[in-house]
Symmetry: C2
Subunit: 270 residues, 2 copies
């Protein structure tokens, strides 16, 4: 691990986490926004990379715009686990039908990618190509049963991510991983693909969208277990910023997974 | 493994599973009913032992009565995982307050045992002594979040059982284990106690209720992974009957867990 000062010049593409880096809940970190705008103005590719599968890109772009990020610039884009899941399915498995345990943002991205969401017309033992699972705050036993039934009948089981909790103003709430665990237990099988960080798929989608190479790309995030581990799993450099979940240098020293750089704040990379 | 013929005389207490032994779904196995009535008439203790935590004893007794079982006899009783959980908490941990993820039958048993069910007045970060989890076909994300919040704040996490599926007329549906898995994942911990088969607690409650000794008790069930394994975990003899989940002698031969006796039907123990 070393000081990040000046590393900006070493990379062309920046995969930047949102929660804990650009904002914390609804509080925007202004210096971080200035930093990403500086990157965008310098012609760097900036991909905002979030495991949050409840929002579509459109919604994230709206929130980034409000926060003051130059998101309408052609060098800036959003790759959420919902979008990455949709693109992964279309590119690697082929479009088809999906029973979705997830929120509107995930359904929107799947539909935009040409995948037929069959929730409204799902009937018992109906053949379905995919069961796609993300965080769903309207999750019910009935959805659980339908998802498991579709998997029994041959649907591929795909998870947007497996975060066990999400941080909120109320405290920690169950994450997508909790819903994935319920379905896995009843279906007696883990998901065939987990797209979000720390898995490689979301990084592959992001690099492809940005048209960037591994060597010239760096991952910036606030978590060792998703951002930094994910970077390592994909052979990418990483910067841990101490503005989110991991706020203490001691925790980094104790961790088996080490980032290449540690920055107190995002602006320290300049 | 040997022939069960005549083993009735070796035992004084019979712990008998319901689904797959006395009935299959709503179909009553008449010969099995005649067999248990014969046991009861001979003065044997008969405990109907079920992992199904959605029904109270009262409901099970009603169903047994309809099926023709002499359940009102003083030698016959029901110990469901809901009842065993309630008795285990009262005897081993002490009465207190519980947030319940489960159906009416479980709540009824907890209340009868003097445990205060706080679901109706649960508020965020409220201190609760126990989170009790069984199958809940009205499970929602909100219940998941409340259960996890109570566990974060110090409540003991107790599961009625961990069956991953339940057999129904529609096919397999998610079982209590699926709901336990979701809560475990978000709470980052397994339950502190799992009461139902194959764990020893439900057997301990049953023996105490019947006033029976381990040596004079035999477990009769249709499953290797719950009934027979549970008997072994508790140092009890076991009979596998082939009228339910395990219907093939070949499966018994392949299994690591072996019953002491295999009976084609319950009546073969006479």
């Amino acid at each position: 691990m070393s000081e990040p000062k000046g590393i900006v010049d070493n990379f062309e593409c920046f995969l930047i986490d949102l929660d804990g880096v650009i904002w914390r809940g609804n509080r925007v970190l202004k210096e971080a926004v200035e930093s990403v705008n500086k990157l965008i103005k310098r012609g760097k590719k900036v991909v905002f990379l979030s495991n949050n599968a409840t929002k579509s890109r459109r919604e994230f772009e709206g929130k980034l715009n409000l926060a003051g990020v130059m998101i309408s610039n052609e060098n800036a884009m959003v790759v959420s686990s919902a979008y990455a899941t949709a693109i992964f399915i279309r590119e690697e498995l082929g479009t088809g039908s999906a029973y979705v345990v997830g929120e509107e943002g995930l359904m929107e991205e799947l539909k935009l990618a040409g995948i037929r969401v069959v929730n409204d017309r799902f009937t018992w033992n109906m053949p379905v190509d995919y069961v796609v699972v993300g965080l769903d705050r309207t999750f019910t036993y009935e959805k659980l049963a339908c998802a498991v039934n579709a998997i029994y009948n041959g649907a591929k089981f795909i998870a947007t991510n497996e975060d066990h909790v999400i941080p909120t103003e109320k405290g920690l709430l169950p994450g997508a991983g909790s819903i994935v665990a319920a379905i896995s237990k009843a279906a007696s099988r883990p998901p065939e693909y987990v797209i979000g960080k720390p898995n490689k798929y979301i990084f592959e989608v992001a690099l492809k969208e940005a048209g960037a190479s591994n060597e010239k790309t760096v991952v910036i995030g606030d978590r060792l277990d998703t951002d930094v581990l994910g970077a390592r799993n994909s052979g990418l450099a990483s910067v841990l910023v101490l503005t989110g979940v991991t706020s203490n240098l001691e925790d980094v020293k104790k961790s088996k997974v080490k980032p290449d750089y540690v920055a107190r704040k995002l602006i320290d990379i300049f």
